[in-house]
Structure formats: C-alpha cells, structure tokens
C-alpha cells in the first residue's frame, strides 16, 4: 500500500461543518443532560427514598424536574454556560489541518454565544475584562490526540461550570504516604468542597504523571468519563469503588444538605510517575455532568451520540 492509499482527504467543507458542529455541541451540552448522568441521578433518588431522607429526596426530584423542563422547553439546564472544553480524537488516516480544525472549534463557540444567545463568562485573569464571546486567549480548551487506524473525528465537548471547577486540588504527596495518603487527601478535598460544587457530583481523580498531567487526568476523569465506567486496571478500579463508598458515607448529600448521594461516580485516570513522586489531583463535576459527543467522518457526516 502506498501512503496515498492509506490516507483520506476530507471533504472541502469539513472546516465549515466542524464550526457548525462545535456550535451545536456547545448548545446541546447546556440543554440535554447525558443518559448516564440521568441514570445516576435517578439511582440517587431511589437510594434516598429507601433511606427515608426527605430533604435529599426532594432535592433530587427538583433536579430531575429541572432536567425535564429543560428538555420540554429547550432551555438551559443551568445558567452557568461554563468555559468550553473540547476533547478531539483525530483518525491518523485523515489528512486534516489541525490549525484550521482548532479555529473552527473556536468559531463554533463564538457562534453559539451570539446566536443562542449564551451568557459569556470569559474574562482576562488580571483586568477581569470580558471578551463577550466565551472564547479568548487559550479558550476554548482543546485536548487533541491521534487515533491509529481511523479516518474519523471524535469530538466530546463540555462547558465546564465554575462552581465545581473552583473545587480543584493538587498535592504532590510523598511516596511513603502511599495509598492511604491518596485516600486521605481525596476525602479532605470532598469535605472542604462541601455544598459548593453542587453535589451529587462526579469526582475525577488524576494519579501519577507530573503535576500538570495529574490535573489533566483528573479533568478527563470528572468530565469525559461516563458514570458507571470502571478503570481497566483492577487496582485502580478497586480504589474507585472504595472511594465512592467512603465519599457517600460522609453524609454530605445532595446540595450539601445531608444524605448518602454525595457522589454519583468516582473516576480515576492514571499515568506512571517518578520513583520519588506521588501526585494526586482532584477535579469535580457538578450534578449536571454536562457533555455532548459527536463522530464525524471525512465527508462531514455527523453521528450524534
């Protein structure tokens, strides 16, 4: 096989298509709660009913009712339109111009903000001056990777809200603190967060790597992993289960007003690390678990998930 046979050239309109898809992903993520999150919330309601916790049950009913209203009236689930984050997996066989792809995603965010319209949240970190477009220097956040033996573009989009994002933590533990140190740090983070990240939450944990990698893995775990998925590493999967149990035993509950549904999931992503490092990062996602996904082929045909 010659190189020209193994690579496919995308449709000439692919970048316009990407722009429209990015716009629609942003709006969809704000309006439609993913199925796994709905199932997690319903499961929480059943648990609280069994426990006879009326306040927690009432809160979960309001959340589910709110999701229904957003479905019916095509309104935003939450007023926080977040900071746009894209995770893009590009098939290695597709001859795509990455710079143009990134520009298309940025333009999609600008269009969603102007056309829907959406509240813009992006400000300069020092002057606090608004850009008004939900885009700016370094925003949208775009996490890009290449997938072997594929000619597809898989895109996940999350408009990450600030209530939960402000509950982000990193600690470079000593290796001698071991697994116990990891568990202790995670529980402390959950305690410190309390009611603020809008529980019931999805807890993302990044283990290992360097400090920036740990934080990035925690975001992947909280935002792009589905509820109910388990790590393929049996030791990591066991820690996910144990921490979910312990976090729910704290009794913080929905909205921090008490109950057993503090977290719907604990997801851990990991990387190997240095012999003298033990990095742990925590990133939290609120009950909304906002996320939208699409797969594009080289002709620009979109399959919405």
């Amino acid at each position: 096989m010659t190189p020209s046979d193994s690579h496919s050239t995308p449709d000439i309109h692919i970048y316009e298509t990407l722009e429209l898809v990015a716009r629609d992903l942003y709006i969809k993520a704000l309006q439609e709660i993913p199925p796994d999150v709905r199932a997690g919330l319903s499961h929480g309601l059943e648990t609280e009913k069994c426990d006879g916790n009326q306040t927690a049950g009432r809160i979960l009913l309001v959340i589910l009712d709110n999701i229904r209203v957003a479905d019916e009236q095509k309104t935003l689930v939450c007023q926080d339109t977040g900071l746009p984050i894209f995770k893009v997996l590009v098939g290695e066989r597709l001859n795509i111009d990455i710079a143009r792809l990134k520009e298309s995603l940025r333009r999609g965010c600008v269009r969603a903000t102007a056309e829907r319209p959406l509240r813009s949240n992006t400000v300069h970190p020092l002057t606090r001056k608004h850009t008004g477009t939900n885009t700016g220097h370094g925003i949208p956040v775009i996490k890009l990777d290449v997938v072997p033996d594929s000619d597809l573009i898989e895109i996940q989009m999350a408009p990450k809200g600030s209530g939960s994002e402000n509950m982000s933590f990193l600690k470079m533990l000593n290796p001698s603190e071991g697994v116990k140190g990891i568990k202790k740090f995670v529980l402390q983070c959950i305690f410190e967060s309390g009611a603020r990240p809008c529980p019931p939450m999805i807890v993302g944990i990044g283990l290992g790597g360097t400090s920036d990698v740990a934080m990035s893995l925690a975001k992947e775990a909280s935002t792009f992993r589905h509820i109910g998925s388990r790590s393929s590493d049996p030791d990591v999967a066991k820690l996910e289960e144990e921490l979910l149990g312990k976090i729910n035993e704290t009794g913080i509950g929905p909205q921090g007003l008490g109950g057993t549904t503090t977290a719907m999931a604990v997801n851990i992503e990991w990387a190997h690390t240095h012999i003298s490092q033990n990095p742990v990062a925590v990133n939290i996602q609120c009950w909304r678990g906002e996320r939208a996904e699409v797969v594009l082929d080289g002709n620009g045909k979109a399959t919405w998930k």
């Binding site: 709110n66 009236q73 935003l76 689930v77 959406l118 209530g163 809008c198 009794g251």
Partner: protein, 193 residues
C-alpha cells in the same frame, strides 16, 4: 418538616416560625442581588434605591435580554454560591431588615448568629436548577443600577418559587453545620482525621 407558602414582605414572626428542613414556596416579590450590588451598598455606602425591609433576596446575576421598551426579558435565571457574599449578611439583616436570603452553598457561623439575632432565615435553592427557576419567575418588574449589569438590583415577580429548604433558621441552627460535623466525624472514623 412543615410546608409553608410565603408572600413577602415578611415579618419577624413569619420567619421565626420556620425550622430546619421545612419546605418553602414564595409568591410575589423577590429581589436579586450579587457581589457587585452589595459592594455598592456596603463598601461604597450607597443606599439601595428601594425599600428592602421584609424582603426575600436571591443571590443571582440573571441572563437577560433588553427589550425595545426598556424592560428586561428573562433568558436564564439561576443561583450563585452564597459563600462569597457572606460578609454582607449581617448588614442586610440589621440595617435593611431583609428577612430571607435564597442561595446555594450556605453561610458562615457569623451569618447564622446574625439570623438568630435579627430574625432571618437562609433558604437553600437547588443550585444549577435554572430551567425551573426561570419558569417560576413570572416577570422582571424593575431594575436599578444597570451599570453593574448583570449584577444589578433586580425586582422579580415569582410564582410558587421553590421548593426551598430552610437550611439556616432564626434559632441558631444550620443544616450545613450539622452535615459538616457529621462528615468530619465519619472521616475521623475512617482513620483520615
């Protein structure tokens, strides 16, 4: 756990009847305030242009669209984290006789003490449930300090606004504090204290 339907302005007697975990619905006027609104009132010492006595105030900065007639149309109204505006609570209660604050995330012990002393309550709304909240707001009736957009002083007319949970009452109780104490104890029992 009792259920109440309240129509502001509220008296001290009205709010002193409420106890932790009671469920509350509100009909009538709710004022919207946020960080910038309260910085103007308390740090810049500017009197609010409307009487807030007996009022219910919501921690919000609504998403709105201005109409040609100068009025505002609601787009998405949700609630922001109250913790950031904790330091203004005693002043709102003592000086302006605000009776109820609606927010998410809770308030500090200083605010719990102020609620007890001056007769006020903190009503927890479900954070993030903006679709429902927006539907329960019938109209944006008035707005002051538009230069602070969107953190102006807003006057909303609401119908069956809630259900809200009494999370801090006027008797010195806080559901947040109770939950935190329990959580701290459980974490100690895990051996992570």
């Amino acid at each position: 756990m009792a259920e109440h339907t309240l129509a502001p302005p509220l008296s001290e007697v009205d709010v002193r009847k409420l106890t932790l975990e009671d469920s509350v619905l509100i009909n009538g006027t709710v004022f919207g305030i946020r960080d910038a609104t309260q910085i103007r009132i308390f740090d810049e010492g500017i009197q609010p242009p409307v009487d807030l006595s007996g009022s219910v105030c919501l921690h919000t900065a609504p998403g709105v669209r201005k109409l040609p007639n100068g009025k505002y149309e609601k787009l998405s109204v949700g609630t922001t984290t109250s913790t950031r505006m904790d330091r203004f609570v005693p002043g709102l209660l003592e000086r302006y006789r605000v009776r109820a604050l609606v927010g998410k995330g809770g308030l500090s012990q200083t605010s719990v003490d102020a609620m007890q002393k001056f007769g006020g309550v903190y009503l927890a709304i479900v954070g993030g449930a903006a679709a429902l909240e927006t539907m329960q707001i019938e109209e944006i009736e008035d707005v002051w300090w538009e230069d602070l957009m969107p953190e102006c002083l807003w006057k909303f007319r609401v119908k069956n606004f809630g259900p809200l949970v009494v999370a801090i009452d006027s008797l010195g109780h806080s559901l947040y504090r109770n939950v935190q104490e329990l959580a701290a104890e459980r974490i100690r029992q895990f051996g992570f204290g």
